[in-house]
């Protein structure tokens, strides 16, 4: 069976490591991006099944990445889940408006994250 591929875009190395390790343990293939522009590039080259997107990233923020992916026909269908420490109602609304499927506030229970991922792309 082909593993589902998840793109994890976050500029925080430690978080990337922890989340990637956890998702890999759950049977997903994880690729990472270190900023917004890198995320767009990786989406194009790696064609992930789902994107986990941080908001506050260098070069291009998560909202903008989300918007651009939704504007592009090739990438519009990939489900995006925002993972952000910004718990403000306004930024949650902004994320969902930009086309994200869900908005998870950091820190989160790892099981909850897996639950969401399964809901969108299955195991």
């Amino acid at each position: 069976m082909v593993k589902k591929r998840i793109l994890l875009a976050d500029d925080e190395e430690d978080i990337k490591t922890v989340v990637a390790m956890f998702l890999e343990a759950q049977g997903y293939e994880v690729i990472t991006a270190f900023d917004g522009l890198d995320a767009l590039e990786k989406v194009r080259t790696e064609k992930p099944d789902l994107i986990l997107l941080d908001i506050m990233m260098p070069v291009l923020d998560g909202f903008e990445v989300c918007k651009r992916l939704k504007e592009n026909e090739d990438t519009a269908r990939i489900p995006i889940v925002i993972l952000s420490a910004a718990a403000h109602v306004e930024s949650v609304n902004r994320g969902l408006k930009a086309g994200a499927k869900d908005y998870i506030v950091k820190p989160f229970e790892p099981e909850k994250l897996v639950e969401k991922i399964e809901q969108f792309i299955g195991k």
Partner: protein, 555 residues
């Protein structure tokens, strides 16, 4: 005849001079009028003389002065306008001379007997064509009745007296208005100075002198530049000229140091043009000096409060990221190493996780405060039984309670309700209530959580066997960062925002938190929520109308 005329003319002149002297400075109108009636009586050789003034709204003439009736009785004597000679004269405005007093059928027999020669004159007093009263002259001493000439004489004098009375009244009104103006000027919290078009001070209040750093004293009639300190004079001069030129209100912020104060006080100087007549020529400028110290302090406090909120938001955000890594890493570590770690090391890992969780709760609390203060907290409503949230809240705190050897008793039998609510926020409110109960109940005590409902409301009550709430602190404990005990000596953790957040979240739902000290110790915190009535809108199946009962009864 010639001699007689000369005498009358002389008498008239003498009388007129006396009357005008008496009435010239009517500081006390009553006494001036009394002196006048006595003069008239003497000159006319009459038995009695009186002045009655018109009280138009009441339709009567009232006694203002009399030569033969005691002062004390004057206020009690009045004549209706539709009766007697006096009434007739006041109505017609024409003088009247009665040679035979018997003509006046209204005079009673007793009064008729008192007078020897039955003659009577009544003369109207007119000001600007309006009758303001009458002068009565009664009974000639001797055998001759009053003459036509004497009537004319009194008629001329009557108008002079009327004028004096009107002047006295105007003066009294002006004085009353002046007093009122003074009271208003001194009563308002601003400094006021009015200056005429020559720069001369027309009026001012004490506060204005205080702000200008001038000792109290006579400033009226002095020029503005003699009074205003040199440092601020240019501002006054500019505003003065602009106000006259633009004929408009002007606002200017200035700072200077008033007398007997150390630092410069922030003040605003406003001006308004003074008009001689409505929308006519300008007669001067009024300056209003307003102390802005409090405004500035308030602005400063608002700025500090906003800075605090954004600081809290940033701090909690900055704490979240590393906490995510810690939580994730320790979680992974535990799942990966569970079998390989000895109990001691597993315990250490558990401590890391538990403390990361505690840290997380504190951050969530801080963020709640920020959202409440910034009014950015919003509700995501779902229909849920209240007991379900209570159960979960108790479950979360059971370990903490057990560590203190406390038992938590749950009883949801008294009534439960499915409510439309934001699960996360109500859960947090309940966590605070149950958490507080656990925190403030001594070891071995008991916490009870129960629900109840009426038609309009449902509640969760949390009771403890702690010390109860000091009634003096009952309102304070709901304020943020306030705890029922001093910060340095307190036994329990937390930073005093639990009840603040709990109440704010209850209020977001249209509810409240009630506190009661229980008989036999302990207290009850009751989270009361209105039962909202939900209708599905037929036209728009996705839209809900939420009715929050406005008047919530306490049952």
């Amino acid at each position: 005849m010639d001699a007689m005329e000369k005498t009358d003319a002389e008498k008239l002149i003498r009388l007129a001079r006396h009357v005008s002297e008496v009435l010239a400075s009517p500081a006390d109108l009553d006494h001036a009028l009394e002196a006048t009636v006595n003069l008239l009586r003497n000159v006319l050789e009459a038995e009695a003389c009186s002045i009655m003034l018109l009280d138009a709204p009441a339709g009567v003439l009232r006694m203002a002065a009399s030569s033969d009736i005691e002062r004390e009785k004057w206020p009690t004597i009045s004549t209706r306008l539709d009766e007697g000679f006096a009434g007739k004269v006041a109505r017609s405005g024409r003088p009247l001379l009665v040679r035979e007093i018997g003509d006046d059928s209204h005079l009673d027999a007793e009064r008729r007997r008192r007078y020897t020669c039955p003659s009577f004159m009544c003369v109207p007093m007119k000001s600007k064509g309006q009758v303001i009263g009458v002068i009565n002259v009664t009974n000639r001493i001797g055998s001759e009745p009053f003459s036509r000439e004497q009537l004319d004489m009194v008629t001329s004098l009557a108008n002079l007296i009327a004028l004096a009375i009107e002047n006295a009244r105007l003066l009294a009104t002006a004085e009353a208005m002046g007093r009122r103006l003074r009271d208003v000027l001194e009563g308002i919290g601003d400094g006021v100075i009015a200056v005429d078009t020559n720069g001369v001070i027309l009026l001012h209040n004490e506060l204005a002198l205080h702000y200008l750093g001038v000792e109290s004293g006579r400033c009226l009639g002095r020029r503005i530049e003699e009074v205003v300190p040199e440092t601020v004079l240019p501002v006054f001069r500019t505003l003065y000229e602009r106000t006259l030129a633009e004929r408009s209100h002007i606002h200017e912020e200035v700072e200077w140091t008033p007398l007997d104060q150390t630092g410069a006080t922030p003040l605003t100087l406003s001006t308004a043009p003074l008009y001689r007549e409505a929308r006519g020529n300008l007669s001067g400028v009024v300056f209003v000096i307003h102390d802005m110290t409090l405004h500035h302090k308030l602005d400063e406090l608002k700025r500090i409060d906003e800075a605090k909120n954004s600081f809290l938001a940033i701090v909690s955000h900055e704490l979240r990221t590393p906490l995510t890594a810690i939580k994730g890493a320790s979680h992974l570590l535990r799942t990966k190493l569970a079998q390989r770690l000895d109990p001691d090391n597993l315990e250490l890992l558990k401590i890391v996780e538990q403390n990361a969780e505690r840290l997380m709760q504190q951050i969530v609390n801080l963020l709640d405060v920020v959202n409440i203060e910034n009014r950015t907290a919003s509700l995501t409503l779902r229909r849920l039984p209240l007991s379900q949230i209570a159960r979960r809240s108790v479950a979360r705190l059971r370990d903490t309670a057990a560590a203190k050897n406390l038992s938590i008793v749950e009883d949801y039998s008294a009534g439960d309700a499915e409510l439309l609510l934001d699960e996360e926020k109500i859960a947090r409110a309940l966590d605070h209530l149950v958490g507080n109960a656990v925190k403030f109940t001594p070891r071995g005590g008991q916490v009870t959580v129960c629900t109840g409902s009426s038609r309009q409301e449902a509640y969760v009550a949390v009771r403890d066997t702690g010390a109860g709430i000091d009634p003096a602190l009952r309102d304070q404990i709901f304020r943020k960062f306030v705890q029922g005990e001093s910060h340095l000596t307190r036994q329990s953790g937390g930073c005093g925002i639990g009840l603040y957040v709990a109440r704010a979240f209850a209020e977001l739902h249209g509810g409240r938190i009630e506190t009661t000290n229980l008989e036999g110790g302990g207290c009850e915190f009751r989270l009361v929520l209105p039962i909202m009535h939900l209708h599905e809108n037929a036209k728009q199946p996705d839209a809900f109308i939420v009715d929050i009962p406005k008047a919530v009864s306490t049952s």
